[in-house]
Amino acid sequence: MNNKIWKKALISLSLPIIVFVIFYILQPSRFGDLRSMYMILQQAMLPSVMAWGLFFILTLGLWDFSLGGVMVLSGIVGGIIGLIGNAISPMLGYILMFTISITIGALLCFINGIVYIKLKIPSIVVTIGLLMIYEIFATIIPGTNGTGVSLYRNLSMFGRPPYNIIIGLLSMLLAYFLYDYTVIGIQVRAIGSNEIVAKSMGVQTEKIKVFAFVIAGIFVGINGAMTLSYTSMMIPQTSLASLGRIFSPVMGCMIGIIFQKYINPIIGILIGEFTITMLITGLMAINIDATIQKVVIGIFLIIVSGVVTRKRTV
């Protein structure tokens, strides 16, 4: 029994271990010390939070390409109102920043869900179309001149350790709880596995789907506030540039899904994001150009999915 647990733990940590070893060998002087691992953990928290939200939608078998745009929009509005609150007191500022960001995130994703249900068109299409709209909305928020928001270093507590890690872990606990200990979690998995049967058993598929979108929105809102706290500003992006924000969470989710036989996917996602962040940091440590990083990530993704797909078919 114990052996089995060890085996599972080892396999689920295999990716980060391999990546770590590779870069440690290549550049022991600049990589591998505890401090840089700590940095990596902090940086991995941001995409992880979005990934946890996205995960609920992916589990349903749906897509949401709009999350990047939702994050920007929720972050900007949260930031503006947070700044106003900050003038009164930082505590109020934080409270407002987070609650507004979460609310906007949930609201926008609620719209995603409703449009998808009512129009009866594929989620890829719905969310890309809405992303185009959200991006533009971010440029017309009153009081921003179309350039988003800047905190000027205020409200930056959650961009620093240990607060960023704390909020990341709290988000992870929330995701874990929602996934395994709520009716929504069970029914989301049921719908994702076999929607027709789930429906015939009384699962209210439409309601659950919208709920799942809202849950994703909550996490995206948290992510927005966290990112704002860390970077101190949020600028609207157009021409679907905010699509770029979703790739890292998607990859983390993939890794979480791939290893879910061995470890709870919520934790798997964190491991995945950690690995990816470590990969990028490692590449920088050995002086690989930022542009080539993309190349390596691409190859990495192919190898991982290739290996896993082969394993599954055998």
């Binding site: 200990y181 009716v183 049921a190 076999n194 015939s200 058993m201 009384g202």
Partner: protein
């Protein structure tokens, strides 16, 4: 005396699909605590009737009453709330979910406090349910795909009964159960009957039917023929009512002395797949109908796939004698003139979302032009010719196969291969889910084919079919050949079954 309280009644219930009238003015009464059997050939309307009762389909005309009140369920869930639930043949449990989650899906609120699902309570209750269904060794906390198909079906049964329905419909759900599973089911039925639950039991198995039902209703061509008390029954009477004519030997072959050539056309040698097939070797001779029988898990369906090149064997080979080439992939088989109809017609045999024409043309695309050009006129003519040959009932050749009846779908599948003039046909469960008329025409077709020196391998779970149609029957048991029989008047079901189990 039996309780005469009517719990379910239908008046002139009708349901049509396009041109076919599936249920034609059926008025049926079901009593409390009754175990009612519902039989009829495929296409008689049994499943359609049951689906309307269970809220899956909506009737076009007519009314239903449940406990005297007008009954018009919005959907399956609504019907279940009213007290009518149904168990179907297909697998209705959800993979990726734990057993306890499957059992209580849709009813989790029972275990929820303050938004949190109490897993311990859920598992404990699930354990109780499992024990009640004679499955004490199964842990409720594991994923459902880890247990056997039969146990999954039993858990499905547990789930359907958990809500304590007043009318429980079983639609051909026994085919995937072993002897042990069926016995368990019958125990359950007896228990439910004592508690006052009514059961509607739909099955093809007349023996089971007569063992457990109080009364039996017979449907034919969508109409209700009669409802008979069990005591007044015998098999021949039932069969007569189902088919409407003397069916003894009516559609199977009548000849017994046909000489089969000993020219082998296919050599199957030492086919082995660990845990599935063990050293299967035999030859298929020219002009013969070779039957392969056994239980569902005997490996015969996999064997069919291996012969067609769709599945790879660990060792052994399939050889086409004429060309001398081995069959390793599907394309090898097809180019050597072998065709295959799968048991899973809708997933492997036919493309539902494609037209009749596209389906028939697909394996023969190279015939319609040079250099991979596909001449649309030649394609259309070719396919029309094929559908005429098999008399496919359709609106137009561009019609989606999706909307055809089971029998006509099978005709399209067969047209696909016959239009290629295949020398060998591997037919896996060719008459499953097909009405009597088309069944007869398929048997007829098979005879014509072998008269023209084609060879057929027929894999079937219907023993009567094998006895009636084949020159030789090979019985598989647990992946091995257990016995071979030659066509003879004295062949009986018992003789074959003895070697299957």
């Amino acid at each position: 005396m039996r309780n005469k309280e009517i719990i379910f009644e239908s008046k002139d219930l009708c349901k049509s699909f396009l041109m076919t009238k599936a249920v034609d003015n059926v008025s049926i009464k079901i009593f409390k605590g009754e175990v009612r059997g519902l039989i009829g050939e495929n296409g008689s309307g049994k499943s359609t009737l049951a689906s309307m009762m269970a809220g899956i389909l909506k009737p076009n005309k007519g009314e239903m009453f449940f406990y005297g009140k007008s009954y018009d369920p919005k959907d399956q869930v609504d019907a279940a709330k009213s007290g009518i639930s149904m168990m179907v043949q297909e697998m209705n449990t959800i993979e990726g979910l734990k057993i306890s989650e499957n059992i209580f899906l849709g009813k989790e609120n029972e275990f929820v406090k303050n938004g949190i699902v109490n897993r311990k309570n859920m598992n404990d209750k699930a354990k109780k349910v499992l024990v009640e269904f004679n499955l004490p060794e199964i842990q409720p906390d594991i994923n459902i795909e880890l247990i056997s198909f039969e146990n999954r079906k039993l858990i499905e049964l547990a789930k359907s009964l958990y809500s304590k329905p007043k009318l429980f419909i079983i639609d051909e759900a026994t085919t995937s159960l072993s002897r042990k599973g069926r016995d368990l089911l019958f125990e359950m039925i007896k228990k439910l009957k004592k508690q006052g639950t009514s059961i509607l039991f739909i099955t093809h198995n007349l023996e089971e039917l007569m063992k457990i039902c109080d009364t039996i209703t017979v449907l034919r061509d969508g109409k209700l023929i009669d409802t008979v008390e069990n005591n007044d029954l015998n098999e021949d009477l039932l069969k007569n009512m189902m088919v409407g004519r003397e069916i003894k030997g009516d559609y199977y072959r009548k000849d017994y002395d046909t000489c089969i050539s000993t020219n082998p056309v296919l050599e199957i040698k030492n086919i082995t797949i660990p845990n599935v097939l063990k050293n299967i070797s035999f030859n298929l001779n020219e002009g013969e109908i070779l039957g392969i029988g056994g239980l569902a898990e005997s490996g015969m369906h996999t064997l069919g796939k291996v012969i067609f090149g769709a599945k790879k064997a660990e060792s052994g080979y399939i050889k086409d004698i004429k060309s001398g080439k081995q069959i390793k992939k599907i394309n090898d088989a097809i180019s050597n003139g072998i065709g295959y109809t799968s048991k899973n017609r809708d997933q492997e045999g036919i493309i539902l979302l494609a037209s009749i024409k596209d389906n028939i043309a697909l394996p023969s695309l190279e015939k319609f032009g040079k250099l991979s050009f596909v001449n649309p006129k030649r394609e259309k003519d070719f396919c029309l010719e094929a559908t005429k040959k098999l008399k496919v009932k359709m609106n137009s050749i561009e019609q989606l196969v999706l909307y055809l009846s089971g029998g006509n779908k099978q005709k399209v599948v067969l047209s696909k291969w016959i239009s290629r003039n295949c020398n060998v046909l591997i037919l896996d469960s060719p008459t499953r889910g097909i009405d009597v008329m088309i069944k007869a025409s398929i048997y007829n077709l098979m005879q014509k084919l072998v008269q023209n020196k084609k060879s057929i391998i027929m894999i079937s779970e219907e023993i009567l079919e094998l006895i009636g149609m084949c020159d030789r029957v090979i019985i598989l048991k647990d992946g091995e050949i257990s016995k071979e029989f030659k066509r003879s008047k004295d062949l009986t079901e018992e003789k074959l079954v003895k070697h299957m189990i």
